[in-house]
Assembly symmetry: C2
Homo-oligomer: 109 residues x 2
DNA sequence: ATAAAGTGAAACCATTTGGTTTTATATTTC
DNA sequence: GAAATATAAAACCAAATGGTTTCACTTTAT
């Protein structure tokens, strides 16, 4: 696993294991060991996935005693969202759904 | 390039060349040769990228004489959009961005 | 009917990817 | 301080990825 060069968001979410890790981290801080129990692979492998997610800016971590706690950093997903929005016009139902959402929630304009 | 196993949308868009191909195909039909001139790689390489995009359902093609014309099929991107929406609550400013989008482009309601 | 244009398919190659095992280091706990 | 816990780091490996070159096959144009 190449950890030397930068990974971007698109690459980071290409792997199903990494996508699942992101969901696990949604909301709660977890240590590597806690994440690993959910996967049929070694802690080392999970650690490498976390490194790739870190490089993409999707997770951050802090040391707490002998543990290292990871948290989700969802902001970089905005790049994905922006990319996706370019294609909005080529498939239906997104605009209408969001229009509804905006009209119901955002009144400041 | 493994073209035997299925590729999903997440994998398909992980490569920048493939993302650019998708943008090129947004709106217009193109033959492989027309796509290739935009990239510093062989027609064969582009052809393989198109195969991966096909497997992900993101492009389709039709034969026209000795040419093969490719078109965008954006629908599978909805899977990505759905995945992304799960994380909406973890980053801000999506609503505002789309509000702007809707107000500028969609007037049908 | 040949030549040219457009593509497909096969064989090959270097690098990256996703995993492993082994060894070492830091922090608790008893 | 010794054992247990949590992680890091390094070496290794098979398969996938992204590319190439070469050759064959259709379709069109002259």
């Amino acid at each position: 696993m190449n950890t030397a060069k930068k990974h971007d968001v698109f690459q980071a979410i290409a792997d199903p294991t990494r996508r699942e890790i992101l969901k696990m981290l949604a909301g709660k801080e977890l240590a590597i060991t806690e994440i690993t129990v959910r996967f049929p692979m070694s802690r080392t492998a999970v650690s490498k996935h976390l490194l790739i997610l870190s490089e993409a800016g999707l997770v951050k971590n802090r040391k707490s005693g002998r543990e290292k706690l990871y948290t989700l950093q969802a902001e970089p997903l905005s790049e994905l969202d922006q990319w996706l929005s370019y294609f909005d016009q080529f498939w239906q139902n997104k605009i209408s759904v969001l229009k509804h959402l905006v009209e119901n929630e955002g009144q400041n304009s």
